[in-house]
Structure formats: C-alpha cells, structure tokens
Subunit: 449 residues, 2 copies
C-alpha cells in the first residue's frame, strides 16, 4: 500500500492526551463559570451561507475567511461567534426571552499568517447579554465580574481588566474639536500599547494632520498615570464628554458590589477596540506578567447587534476569550500544573491468570460507583501492565488473581504510595473514592509572583 | 442599511435554547459514560490536508466531502472521526500508551442529499481501543457493555445491540464455496434489513450468479430465527467456519460478566458493515420501536487502523454513535422529557427599586455557593420580571426591595409552589440547593414500552 505521511496542518492545535486533559479542564471551567452567571449555551453551525456570514461585510477578516462552493452553495466557515449570534437572535427573536444571555464555546477559523502561538482554528468562549430595544448599563459592570470570576476559577491571579468608554472618547474628541479626524485619531491611539507614545504622536501630527500641541494634549490625557484624576479635571468642559465620564463612572461604581476586587481592573483611556460596533464600555484583559501577549479577553457594549439582518434594535454587551491562545501561553510558560493532568481512569483493573469474568464484574461495580475504571485485558507480563498504569499516571490498581476470584475479593493497590489491601470490589470503590477526594487539584496554574 | 435575510442552511442543526439544553444533556451523558470506561478524550482539527484525510481514498464518502483550496493548500473537513484517529495514532505512536483508549465527540461534515432527519453537519461520538500489534478479543465484549451503559444512562431501554463476526461470515462463504463471489454476496446480505429476503435472494441468483439452491441455503442460515442453534448445526463442517463460530462465542460468552443483560443483545448473521475494514465482531444498534431508523450505534473490530499512514499493525475495536440523528429521533418522537429541560439559571434575582448593589452582592453569594444566578437588571414592571422567569422556567426568584436591603435579607420565592420566605442570601443559597436536589430529573426519556 502506498503510504501518506500523516501530519496536522500548521496553525491547527492538536494535543497529546495529557495536555488535552488540561485543555478540557480549562473548557470545563469556562462552561461552568458562564453557567453560574445564568448564560444559556447555544451551538450554531460551523458552516453558513457566505451571504449570511458576510452580511456585515468588509474588514481585515474577510480575506482570512475559509470560503468555498459546494454544488451551487457559497459557503463559509464561521470566523467568530458574534455574527452567528446576530443571525440566531434575528432569526429566533420571537422565541427568545430578553435580556437573552447566551454563551457559546466553540472553534472558529481564520486563515491568518501562521505564527508561533497564533492559530487558524481556535476556540473562542463568548458571553453576551442582548436586550430587546434597550439594555441597562449595569450589565456592563457585571461583565467585569464574569471575566474576573472566570480567570480566578482558571487559577489565574496576575491579570487585570482594562476598561474605557467609547462615549467618553467621542466626547473627548468633540471637546478637542477633532471633527472628521476622530476616526483616524481613534485608530492611532488604539495602537499606543503596541508602538508607544512617540510613534502615535507622529501619526497624529504627520498622518492625521493634528496640530502638534493638540496631539500632545490628547496624549497627555489618554496616557495619564491616574486616568481617574485626569477625568476630574475634564468635567464641565463639554456636555458630551461629561456624559461619557458619567456613564463610565456609573459602570465602575458598581464593580465593588459585583465583587470585583480593586486590583483586578483599571481605567485605560487608550482602549478603543476598533472603529465600528462598540458604543459604550470596552474591555481588554492583560496577563500582567505577559503584557506582550496583548488582550486575552476583550469586548464591549454595542447598540446594534444585528442591523444587517433586522430592523429591531438589539443592544448588547459581551466579551470573548481567545481560549486556544490563552492555553498556548499557559502551556508555553509552564503555568499549567502538571498535577492537574487527569489520568484517563482512576483505577486499572489487572487480571492475573484466567479471571477475566471476575475482572469484568469488578469493573462494573467500580463504574456503577462512579469510578472511572479500565481493565488491562492484554496477555502481557505483570511488569508491562504496571508500566502502563505508570505511564498514564493511573492512581490505583485493582489486582485480581485466582485467589481473589475464589474469595470474591480484589487487591487494591495505591500506586502512589505502594500500599495494598484485600477487600471487596464495593469496598475498593469506596476506598478509591475517598482517596481521589484527597488528591483533588482544582487549580490550573502555579503563579509566578 | 441593506438587510440580508438571516437563515441557517438546510441539513445544519441549530436548536433553540430549550432543546439545546436537552442536546447538551445528551452530550454530557456520552462524555461521562465514556470517561467511566477509561477513555481519554482527543480533539483533532476540523480541517486537514485533503491528501491526509483522503489517504484511504475512494468510496461513497469522497463525493460528499467538503473540500476546497485556500492559498496553495488543498483542504478538507473531516467526514468521520476514524480517519483523524488513524492519523493521530500513526503520528503520535511513540507518545501513546497502548492499548490506547480514546473517545472523541465532535461534529463531522458530509454533503449528503438533504433529507428530513439527515444532517450535513452532525455530531459523532466515538470510542475506540487500539492495540499495538495485537488486541485481545475480550475488548470486543466490553464494547457491548459500553453501548448498553451509554444508552441506559441516556434513559433508553428499548434498544438492542445486534452482533455478528466477519470471520464467521468468511468461514461460511468458504464452506459454501463462494470463492470470488464472497464480496458481492456480503454486500447483498448486508441489505436484508432494508429490502427483504426475496429481493436479496434475487440479487444472489440473478446478479451474483449463485446457484438457486445454494442461495436459499445461505438465506436460511443467515436469517435463521435462532442463529445460535443454527451455528450449532454448522460446527465441524469447515475449519474456517469453526474458528469464526468460536471467536464469536468467545466474545458473547463474556457479555454477562460485563453486565450486559441478555435482552440487550442478539446474534444477527446478516450484519456485515461493508466490504473492507472490519475483520472480527461487528455491531449495529437498533431502537426496537423505530427499526426503520436503522442503526444508531455501529462499529466493529478491525485489524489495521492506519495502514495508509504507517507499517505498524494497529488493530482495534470501536463504535460510533450518530448523535445528531439519535437526538432528532428522540425529539421527533417526543421521547425527550420536557422536565429535563434545564432553565438557564436556578435563581432570578429581582431588584425592586434602587437596590442594585444589594442584588449584585446576593448574586455573588449565590454563585459562590454554586447556584446559577442571574440578576434582572432592566427597568421593567414587576409583572415583566416574573414573566421572564416564567418563560425560562426559572425555579426561584430572589426578591430584594429597600426593606430587604436595609435588613440585609432577601425574599426567596419558590416559583413552582408560590411559597415565599425572608432570609439571608446565604440561607437562600442553602434553601435553593436543597430544593434543586429534590426536583433533579436525570432521565432523558419517557419510554413507550
């Protein structure tokens, strides 16, 4: 037979069983945390009609999309979970209860330039709260609590949510009289994190055509070390700016009530999150020890989720975690606890001799008690059987020989400390359950601090 | 703005939140049952190089594949989870422990003719046990236990696993002297379920060219009402047939030890599962009240998982559940318990007046206690707030007015029985937890019997 070399495409994450169990643990934390906040899960198709998926059109993303024809249908793979949400809400408006709180955790595809730690197929984990006609700004505060609780449950402590408000930025630009230049100014200051103040100021003066003094004034404001004090000095200058500051402060004043610790968020007046779409609070989330990674959880408030599908006004607020990238960083930096690797089973049943029926019965007893059990059924030497348990970090062996079979017992061996006892399969199940509770390691990360 | 009509492609399942929560419950049962049997989860890419995915080549499937080019890469979407498994094992052979027990639950894509209850994007849930060079036949018995336990945990009782053995069929054909006709005969009798005995016999005589008497003899054997008694009469006729019968009986004799009830499996000598690939036990699973649906869980023993990628002999045994189709049938036949629909949260926190900070604090207390809680933050009338809870079947309301805020309490209302009590948020969390335990409905299905 002619052989093909098996390979996985570059930019496509495929993990060995151990890191996969860590990735699954991360996805489980995201799912359960989103559920705690009352989000309902939806599962939209990976493939959509291109016409529908690209209804909003344009942008950098369009070039990256996996799009093709099959038969006479023009198809595209989803590139985010927001457009499918817009479609879902517009299509099912009459069947949904608003505010509609949905989460979706799934893969999306973008044919980006392959790069270490950048993926073409990657998981996003989104939460959005969609209002019918209106949505209270307090939802924008709760979103910060969701981010913080999610990261806390992932075992992360060294992160910070950076917040800004688009209405505030618009007010600021209005007060500075930037008029039509506002869009270009926004795009420029959005880059401050990446290219630094000097280069942004050069863009503002040379490319955007701002007066040098005004550019300096703007930069002084947005990059102020104490943005809150800076905002105080701006109050009363311009009504639009005042309204923006008030809205931002309404949201941030609610953060303590939502249990958001003070050190887990800060104002950052440079955050814009692109030209269109967002209209109120915007969020980025930074890993404090890895600022170069950029934001690992971003989003914001928007006033029109699905304008390209429906004339209903559907305002919302949401954030998205780039899960594959976050996982890659945690793995790459050695931040995933090796103890959190889950063995594929809790107990390996090791038959010694012609005792398979007894082994199968013991497996059934264990499984009925909720113990993940596997029988080693191959005719191998004892050493090979225990080497298998060792390789997979299985914590218990349940050994059954002819003596045990005759007595209706099993020998339970704790493979971590080597102790062994003879007991019934039911008692072994209890002992394993007790032992597993003790070694439970829910935490994903050892902190650098 | 020009509007695009939002739509989902035909053949692509997209569920409203309530059925989605039922689907999620089904997927959770599959995942946890597979874990109980010690299978490790893997997650292979949706997109693969076409050369790799189609290495095995040929067949009906190839026409149905979603295949396209992007840049200079020829890509294809996975059409099953077996080829990706073969690739994974061949690529990662040195890093895996054998027997390698893997499960994968994920979507696959096939551009089949759209048809009610048939999907182009659908979930498969696979388990496979892969040996390194050899794999004990007892694994073929355990697979039946896995199928039965999975269906039992889904709440299904009216199903049956039908088993056959390819070595037995080959022995039978050898004894009957079918020689080169064996392949065509196999294909013909595989259709017995669908087209009936008369038509199969016509194919055997008219198309395959079998002697009429021999065709009748073969049909008498494979469609015997008591296949086990029939096999007894065949013992000693032909060595190859004897070996096949012995192998089948070795596997079925282990079924009681694995806890497989007698009424949950039967021999069916007509099952072949296609020409290639399978070499030992083969399985199909029928819903007894819906035989017309065909098999909802199929698979078998194979001797060469990845011959097109590697010269290592990797025998295995596995089965695949067609989850989307199974779910569609359960839903279509009204077999999903409506009580199993999970509300998106356990408690709706209803602020009355200017009490949002107290509401947010109560939400945090509830969530920390593991209660899925949502605050109704919109400025709506009381009636609208409770209509929302009602529409989503939320079982508890936690009402906070100015009195409660001043007293540091909440009013907990059981929305199912209308009772209400005033207590602390912590006590409310306890009460909700107790109440939820009572109403837990793990069962998915009401049986028709």
């Amino acid at each position: 037979m002619e052989r093909i070399k098996p390979r996985t495409l570059s930019g496509f994450m495929e993990l060995l069983p151990e890191p996969q169990s860590q990735m699954d643990a991360v996805l489980d934390v995201l799912k359960s945390t989103y559920a705690l906040f009352g989000f309902t899960n939806i599962d939209t198709p990976v493939l959509e009609a291109s016409e529908v998926l690209l209804a909003k059109g344009g942008g950098e993303t369009e070039k990256q999309i996996y799009r093709f024809e099959k038969g006479d249908t023009d198809l595209a793979m989803r590139f985010d979970l927001t457009v499918p949400l817009a479609k879902y809400v517009a299509m099912n408006y009459g069947s949904l209860a608003f505010p509609f709180r949905r989460c979706q955790i799934g893969k999306v595809w973008r044919g980006e330039r392959a790069q270490r730690g950048r993926f073409r197929e990657f998981y996003q984990a989104d939460v959005d709260i969609i209002g019918d006609g209106s949505l209270d700004a307090s939802n924008e505060a709760e979103v910060v609590a969701i981010i913080c609780e999610t990261f806390r449950r992932l075992g992360l402590t060294r992160f910070q949510v950076r917040m800004n408000n688009r209405r505030l930025l618009n007010g600021l630009f209005q007060w500075l009289g930037l008029g039509e230049k506002s869009g270009s100014v926004l795009t420029a200051i959005d880059k401050l994190d990446k290219i630094g103040r000097e280069k942004v100021e050069a863009i503002l003066t040379d490319e955007v055509g701002m007066d040098a003094e005004k550019a300096k004034q703007l930069m002084d404001i947005v990059s102020a070390e104490n943005p809150d004090a800076m905002l105080d000095t701006l109050l009363g200058k311009c009504e639009a700016l005042d309204l923006g500051i008030q809205e931002l402060r309404k949201v941030t004043s609610l953060l303590p009530a939502f249990g958001v610790p003070d050190d887990k968020w800060r104002l950052d007046l440079t955050i814009a999150r692109g030209l269109d779409y967002y209209t109120g609070t915007v969020y980025e989330t930074t890993l404090l020890d890895y600022p170069e990674v950029g934001s690992v959880c971003s989003g914001g408030r928007y006033d029109d989720l699905a304008g390209y599908y429906t004339d209903r006004k559907l305002p919302g607020v949401g954030v998205s975690i780039g899960v594959s990238r976050l996982f890659f960083i945690l793995q790459d930096q050695g931040l995933l606890r090796s103890e959190a690797v889950k063995a594929p089973c809790d107990a390996l049943i090791v038959p010694m001799g012609d005792v398979l029926p007894a082994a199968a019965k013991a497996a059934t007893v264990l499984r009925n008690a909720g113990i993940r059990a596997q029988i080693y059924m191959e005719q191998k030497k004892v050493k090979a059987k225990f080497a298998y348990a060792d390789k997979l970090h299985i914590p218990y062996a349940v050994i059954i020989g002819e003596d045990e079979m005759a007595a209706g017992t099993v020998s339970l061996k704790n493979l971590l400390d080597g102790t062994q006892e003879t007991l019934t399969a039911e008692a072994a199940a209890e002992a394993i359950r007790g032992g597993l509770k003790k070694t439970d390691t829910p935490v994903q990360e050892k902190e650098r601090t």
